[in-house]
């Protein structure tokens, strides 16, 4: 990052023009709001009447709010299952696709469809497939002799239902990222390993896995941050129910801020969410130094 053109006299003007949007965005779009969110979290504010100072009141309420505790557990459930399963399945698909096969581009297109489709629209489709009485999934279950499941209306199955759709929606993106990673591995590694008599399993664990770690790391972290913020599928399919069984932190924040207009309380929750994501990202970054292999 050291190269670059030095500015001549009179070119400062252009520099400021080019930088202006980014600086405005940083101030009004990020830095300002983050600081403001911290400030608002110490107040009670419904936006209409002036805010009143609440000190740590919101945070104390949070720690005693059973729904918030439930929202944290639900978020952990969603992220903890969705992200690893999506990663493993996407890697498997990418490895199978990374061969000289016919129709590879067709598969790639098919897997990518959910990634470009509006989450609202596909959530409607999944709601219909999950419908208890005439839904496609329960028809399939019945036809193999299993009991139908009240997918979106049972506290036990609503979250798994949303997780399944989440995996379905992210597979294609992971596949593309892993495919690019796999194609960047020099074939000479595999050739040398084969000459030395390594079998397929050994080649997978000793060559593919270490050299795919940069993509693995990237996909895992991006999907995790995204998964923490899943909102649309929950809004359309369950509205956080039944009995809060799919109320995640993000959904609870939305409900407090924009349904009940408790801006201070919602901001405190958002700050907690921010801290959780930040700590996880930092831990993950540290771990990366240990196990991510860069092929230089």
């Amino acid at each position: 990052m050291n190269g670059g053109l030095r500015l001549k006299k009179g070119e400062r003007f252009w520099l400021w023009i080019f930088l202006a949007p980014t600086i405005v965005g940083l101030l009004i779009g990020s830095l300002g709001p983050v600081l403001a969110a911290v400030g608002i979290s110490f107040t009670d504010w419904d936006v209409i009447t002036p805010p009143t100072f609440a000190g740590l009141g919101n945070y104390q309420r949070l720690s005693a709010d059973p729904t918030f505790a439930k929202a944290i557990r639900n978020t952990a459930y969603y992220v903890g299952v969705m992200v690893p399963v999506s990663t493993v399945l996407a890697l498997l698909l990418a490895m199978v696709l990374n061969q000289k096969l016919r129709a590879v581009t067709w598969y790639r297109t098919a897997y990518f469809l959910p990634v470009v489709s509006s989450t609202v629209a596909v959530s409607l489709v999944w709601s219909w497939m999950y419908a208890k009485d005439f839904g496609l999934l329960n028809f399939l279950l019945r036809s193999v002799g299993l009991e139908p499941v009240a997918w979106l209306t049972s506290t036990q199955w609503a979250m798994p239902a949303i997780i399944i759709m989440g995996i379905w929606g992210t597979l294609g993106q992971g596949m593309i990222i892993f495919l690019a990673g796999l194609q960047a591995i020099a074939p000479s590694y595999y050739e040398a390993a084969e000459v030395d008599g390594a079998n397929a399993l050994q080649r997978f664990w000793r060559i593919t896995v270490p050299l795919i770690t940069p993509s693995l790391f990237f996909y895992f972290i991006v999907t995790m941050i995204d998964a923490f913020q899943t909102f649309e599928s929950i809004y359309i399919m369950t509205r956080g129910g039944p009995v809060n069984s799919t109320t995640t932190m993000v959904y609870y924040i939305y409900r407090n801020a924009f349904r009940n207009f408790k801006m201070g309380y919602a901001s405190a929750q958002a700050i907690v969410l921010f801290l959780i994501i930040m700590v996880l990202t930092l831990i993950y970054w540290r771990m990366q130094e240990k196990w991510v292999v860069y092929d230089d």
Binding site: L7, G25, G32, A121, V125, S143, G172
Partner: protein, 303 residues
């Protein structure tokens, strides 16, 4: 080597070579064919899982209302009811939903392409004090969850009277952003600096270097960012949900969710609505697949 392998190796024929027997492990041809078969089986199964919801959506959208409650389910609608589409379109002002979505997504795309390319140019081509710190600060904003900035931003927009208008849905696209700036910068870094230097020798100023070298040379990356921005904006639910309430101001996504509230259970019409909201992006995707895939690879793989 395991003990069984040693023992076969020792059983030598009089000529000193191991006995010739058909050995599956050594039959490259068969192994190749079987691997291909197994691969297709896995891929086909996965593709089925991914594609079936789309087929089901399309199929339902063309059914007579009563035929959705038939067992076993009909895959090919009989009769085919095209009327579902006009019925859906006229049940709510979908004309304005559609136009609102087009307007907002287009403005977002223009804003992001313009301001992110300007920022990316500065960060990858120019040299000035504080550049690297500023760039790092920009990247750090990627870690901030959207919900943190959402509340103060909402309060700001409500204080200046923007809530209930389309302004909050597109104005922020004109102040750059970490993702787009990062993606374009990755691409700009691959353009040799010599080009800019020699243009400068010939008397080009910074604006000209940007406009006549970097913009034309980065078309694939711009296409990728443009498509992503359009898609995200088109598919966004949270912002329209918070900022607009009047029926004729809704976008297609929020309109669809509104439709769900009013016509819940009318699956044929809802699926027709889903098809209509997915179709424009799907068409773009089929023609510009290359850029989608490049965009993901570009933003993700290079360190």
């Amino acid at each position: 080597m395991t003990s069984s392998e040693i023992s076969t190796a020792e059983k030598l024929t009089p000529s000193g070579k191991p006995p010739r027997k058909f050995n599956f492990r050594q039959s490259r041809y068969l192994q190749g064919r079987l691997t291909a078969l197994a691969s297709h089986a896995i891929l086909l199964f996965g593709a089925l899982f991914v594609v079936v919801p789309f087929i089901w959506m399309l199929s339902t959208s063309l059914k007579a209302a009563g035929k959705t409650f038939v067992f076993p389910p009909q895959w090919i609608p009989d009769p085919v009811v095209w009327q579902n589409y006009p019925d859906m379109w006229n049940a709510l002002p979908f004309n304005s939903f559609f136009l609102n979505s087009v307007k907002i997504s287009t403005l977002n795309t223009i804003g992001q392409l313009l301001t992110c390319s300007m920022g990316a140019f500065v960060f990858s081509v120019l040299k000035f004090r504080g550049r690297d710190a500023l760039f790092l600060g920009l990247i750090a904003t990627l870690m901030v969850p959207y919900q943190v900035t959402l509340i103060p931003t909402f309060i700001l927009f409500s204080k200046i009277g923007w809530v209930g208008t389309h302004l909050p849905l597109w104005v922020p696209a004109f102040w750059g952003g970490a993702f787009g700036t990062f993606l374009l910068r990755q691409f700009y870094m691959t353009i040799p600096l010599d080009l800019a230097e020699s243009a400068r020798m010939d008397g080009a100023n910074i604006y000209q270097i940007f406009r006549y070298i970097y913009v034309p040379m980065s078309k694939p990356a711009m296409a990728a960012l443009g498509i992503f921005t359009f898609m995200w904006s088109w598919n966004d639910l949270l912002n329209p949900l918070i900022y607009v309430a009047k029926l004729d101001q809704l976008t297609l996504t929020i309109g669809l969710s509104f439709f769900q509230n009013q016509y819940g259970g009318k699956w044929t019409l809802m699926m027709a609505g889903a098809v209509v909201s997915i179709l424009p992006i799907l068409i773009v995707f089929f023609f510009a697949q290359k850029y989608f895939i490049q965009g993901i690879a570009l933003s993700g793989i290079k360190r």
